[in-house]
């Protein structure tokens, strides 16, 4: 005879991912590497901007690497490698986002020593929905919005914009040509995440890249000050 009863469990559906992400963050802290998760819709210019960022960092004598997620092909890793920085492709095989276990598996496969790096950039799969739910152990999540996409993107994808720490407006060099409404874009970003730091960037002209990288350097410094034990290990 069946006796229905209620079994309380109270468990997070993504608890495995969250736990692994926490372990990754501890590993990143111990290695002294600052990790940034870059998210955007497809075609917002993640790879183009990242290539310029990697080049700038390299010229400043800093070591930065990139893990790049795509549904298929290793074209982006090849493109990023042109900057001279180490890059490793994660082909998700149809998965629309990266998960923490993919990061830890691919770090092992890549075989780099994290403590050799100042920065690690994770270029997520181009998608403004699914990546929002998955912590990858990053220190900072940056969402990109290109001037060609429409200023209301933050309102259409509030979860992603709200879960991100910084907004990067990309392709600002063509803002005038596409009649980008700067005021509307800022209003919408601030509506979804009040106080969100926003940078205007161009991979083509390099505009805004230094300001964004200076911001990252400050954040990285703050992390090291907050966790001095990470420095000594």
């Amino acid at each position: 005879m069946n006796n229905p009863r209620i079994l309380e469990i109270r468990r997070g559906v993504l608890e495995k991912n969250d736990l692994l992400a926490q372990q990754l963050r501890t590993r990143f802290n111990e290695a002294g590497v600052y990790v940034v998760n870059l998210v955007s819709s497809p075609g917002a210019g993640k790879t183009a901007l990242l290539e310029v960022m990697l080049r700038h960092l390299r010229e400043s004598g800093l070591n930065a690497g990139a893990l790049v997620g795509d549904l298929a092909t290793d074209n982006d890793a090849k493109r990023l490698a042109r900057s001279g920085a180490p890059a490793h492709q994660i082909e998700t095989g149809g998965n629309c986002h990266l998960e923490a276990d993919m990061i830890s598996d691919h770090l092992a496969e890549w075989g780099i020593d994290l403590s050799d790096f100042d920065y690690l950039f994770i270029e997520n799969v181009g998608n403004l929905v699914c990546p929002a739910s998955y912590d990858l152990g990053e220190h900072l999540r940056a969402v990109m919005l290109s001037v060609t996409e429409g200023e209301d993107k933050p309102l259409k994808y509030p979860t992603m914009f709200n879960s991100s720490d910084v907004a990067l407006i990309t392709k600002i060099d063509i803002a005038e040509a596409v009649e980008f409404d700067r005021k509307a874009a800022y209003t919408n970003i601030q509506a979804i995440r009040p106080g969100m730091v926003t940078f205007e960037t161009s991979a083509k002209t390099g505009r805004g890249v230094d300001a964004w990288l200076s911001y990252l350097a400050e954040r990285r410094e703050a992390l090291h000050t907050a966790a001095p034990e990470a420095e000594s290990s």
Binding site: N2, R5, I6, I9, R11, P158, N162, A191
Partner: protein, 121 residues
């Protein structure tokens, strides 16, 4: 769409818990779903029916409790429900606030299970 993979995670956790409790079957799974969880309710229900096939949860229903977003306003010193996730400001005084106190939940609360033997408690 990542709801199918979320559904598989959910079913894994629930069937393991049901098994450990010695259940012979599961009638329902109760889930708390925050408005800011990034998970779409209908897509999750659709994914659930696929993910339960061939598991202890087959034939069960997914009961979803919608969890509203609650924000703290430093001016009012109060937590209130955000009526609209396109505008993060205090619904009382209009002060912008990003201090989210609730709404990101994606949590299995409980299961309604069948015991193989009569329960003693």
């Amino acid at each position: 769409m990542h709801e199918l993979s979320i559904a598989y995670n959910l079913v894994d956790i629930a069937s393991q818990a049901a098994q450990e409790a010695g259940a012979s079957g599961v009638d329902a799974v109760y889930l708390r779903l925050g408005k800011l969880s990034g998970v779409e309710k209908d897509a999750l229900l659709f994914g659930y029916d696929i993910a339960i096939k061939g598991t202890l949860l087959e034939g069960s229903r997914l009961e979803i409790e919608d969890v509203p977003v609650m924000v703290y306003c430093p001016v009012c010193d109060a937590v209130s429900e955000l009526p609209d996730i396109q505008l993060f400001c205090c619904p009382q005084c209009g002060t912008p606030t990003g201090d989210i106190r609730q709404g990101k939940e994606l949590e299995i609360l409980s299961l309604e299970i069948d015991d193989e033997q009569p329960a003693y408690s």
